[in-house]
């Protein structure tokens, strides 16, 4: 939150009250004063306030009537009534109609006034914070809703495919076709398994406690490479790497593994079959402060219209061969959790370059 001073509007037809209030508090608060309720309405329309003080006895309308008038239009501003006489009738009206937060007796005690305003501002801030939280919660709920919708599709669809294949296989007597169907079932189950692993990664990434350790990029990349080179879609792909690491780079190895795994897997999956020498080139420059990671491929590339959308959850760019649309979302989440950034430059049909910049997490 900013350290802006509390913004107060004070309305009183006795001008010397305004002056003495201003003289006492102008150093700590942002104070606007007026002797007229009509002018007060104009000021309210042009400036945001946290707190309004109004005298009860004023010409045209009383403080309570003024509060009643502005209450619906400016519900957030905390209202404080200043009275010269202890008038029970005015007090009851103030609470019931004007919904005032506090009364201040005239002549006032400066410590009391200061306390009243500090408390009023606490209430103001608490309400604002609550409102902000509600907005965030609503957003989180909407995201959860979307997540459940898409996740349930991605969990059920491969299962229904398997059931479909089983139904088809039951109509078939030929053993050769049966084997073909088993192979399809295997692929479909694999797809489901990949999705489940992704969901678990997502969860670990979102909720897990980060474990910061020294990162050895050489080791990390070798490890990730080992898990993917036996994939059936790996094909003739060549992975080369150029790793320059000086000093101790610290980060969360779990998140880095998720990032490398997804990006390299994508490069494997979206190879361009028409190209003679499919490649992935990894380049890492790491110091004790920062790591720059470049993952370049000569795959299918990403269409320009898709480039700013691919990091959205469940966004699937291609019609064929595309996954569930969760992988790059997880990558993006992991990178922002590590305090870094990612850029893509890609030419459709030529290839893609992902550039990551990550700070070393030196606590």
């Amino acid at each position: 939150m900013s350290n802006k001073p509390i913004r107060i509007l004070y309305i009183d037809d006795e001008e010397h009250n305004l002056h003495s209030f201003k003289a006492t508090f102008r150093k700590q608060w942002d104070i606007t004063t007026t002797i007229s309720v009509v002018e007060a309405l104009e000021i309210l329309a042009s400036k945001d306030f946290n707190i309004i003080l109004a005298d009860q006895r004023m010409p045209i309308m009383t403080g309570v009537q003024f509060f009643e008038k502005i209450r619906d239009q400016y519900p957030n501003i905390i209202r404080i009534l200043i009275t010269g006489h202890t008038d029970i009738g005015a007090a009851i009206d103030a609470i019931n109609k004007g919904e005032v937060f506090r009364f201040i007796d005239k002549p006032w005690d400066y410590v009391y006034v200061e306390n009243a305003i500090t408390h009023a501002y606490d209430i103001y801030k608490t309400r604002e914070d609550l409102k902000q939280r509600n907005i965030e919660l609503q957003k989180a709920n909407e995201e959860l809703d979307k997540f459940v919708y898409s996740a349930s599709h991605d969990l059920r669809a491969p299962l229904m495919s398997v059931l479909g294949i089983v139904n088809l296989a039951l109509l078939e007597d030929d053993l050769q076709s049966q084997n073909e169907y088993l192979e399809l079932i295997r692929k479909s189950v694999k797809k489901l398994d990949t999705f489940i692993i992704n969901i678990i990664d997502y969860y670990k990434n979102a909720r897990g406690v980060p474990v910061i350790s020294n990162i050895n990029f050489e080791e990390l990349i070798t490890e990730v490479q080992a898990t993917i080179q036996y994939l059936p879609e790996f094909g003739r792909l060549k992975i080369t790497s150029d790793i320059q690491q000086e000093g101790v780079f610290k980060s969360d190895v779990m998140k880095l593994r998720i990032i490398f795994n997804n990006l390299i897997n994508n490069a494997v999956k979206f190879q361009d079959p028409s190209k003679e020498n499919p490649f992935i080139h990894l380049k890492v420059e790491a110091s004790s402060e920062h790591a720059k990671i470049i993952i370049e491929d000569n795959g299918m590339g990403i269409r320009e219209i898709d480039q700013d959308k691919i990091f959205k959850m469940f966004y699937r760019a291609g019609a064929t061969n595309s996954g569930s649309g969760i992988g790059l979302y997880i990558v993006h989440e992991a990178i922002s959790k590590l305090g870094g950034g990612i850029n893509i430059s890609s030419v459709y049909g030529t290839g893609s370059i992902f550039e990551l910049n990550l700070p070393s997490i030196n606590k």
Binding site: S161, G164, S188
Partner: protein
């Protein structure tokens, strides 16, 4: 029963393969045309127009780029003459009540059939 012309629209290569085989095996049809993109399917329908025989479309719901409901929105604008030759069934694994309601209330979707497709259910709906 006469053979019917069927078009399958589904982004899943598995499902296209499975349902094409199933439909042919069942004897319900001899010609199945498959599209892995709803946009491509729509282009095809418009380009065929007068040449298109009576056709049944089995339309998936969740697809990238143009999903099943997007397809229906675009389909609403094709000439009536073309629509008269087409019957659309949505074929989806969705169990989301909003999807089910939306499919039910669409004037262009005859019914939402759950995946995996049961041939008997389709036969009954076409009879």
């Amino acid at each position: 029963m006469n053979f019917i012309n069927i078009i399958l629209i589904d982004d899943s290569a598995f499902d296209l393969f499975i349902y094409e085989k199933l439909l042919i095996k069942s004897g319900i049809t001899r010609t199945v045309k498959t599209f892995n993109s709803a946009r491509e399917a729509l282009k095809f329908l418009i380009s065929e127009e007068s040449a298109l025989p009576q056709t049944v479309i089995l339309l998936d719901l969740q697809m990238p780029d143009m999903n099943g409901f997007d397809f229906i929105d675009a389909y609403a604008k094709v000439p009536e003459g073309l629509k008269n030759k087409i019957q659309i069934f949505m074929l989806s694994s969705t169990i989301d009540s909003r999807d089910i309601e939306k499919a039910r209330s669409s004037p262009y979707i005859i019914d939402l059939l759950p995946k995996p497709l049961e041939i008997e259910v389709l036969k009954n709906r076409l009879a």
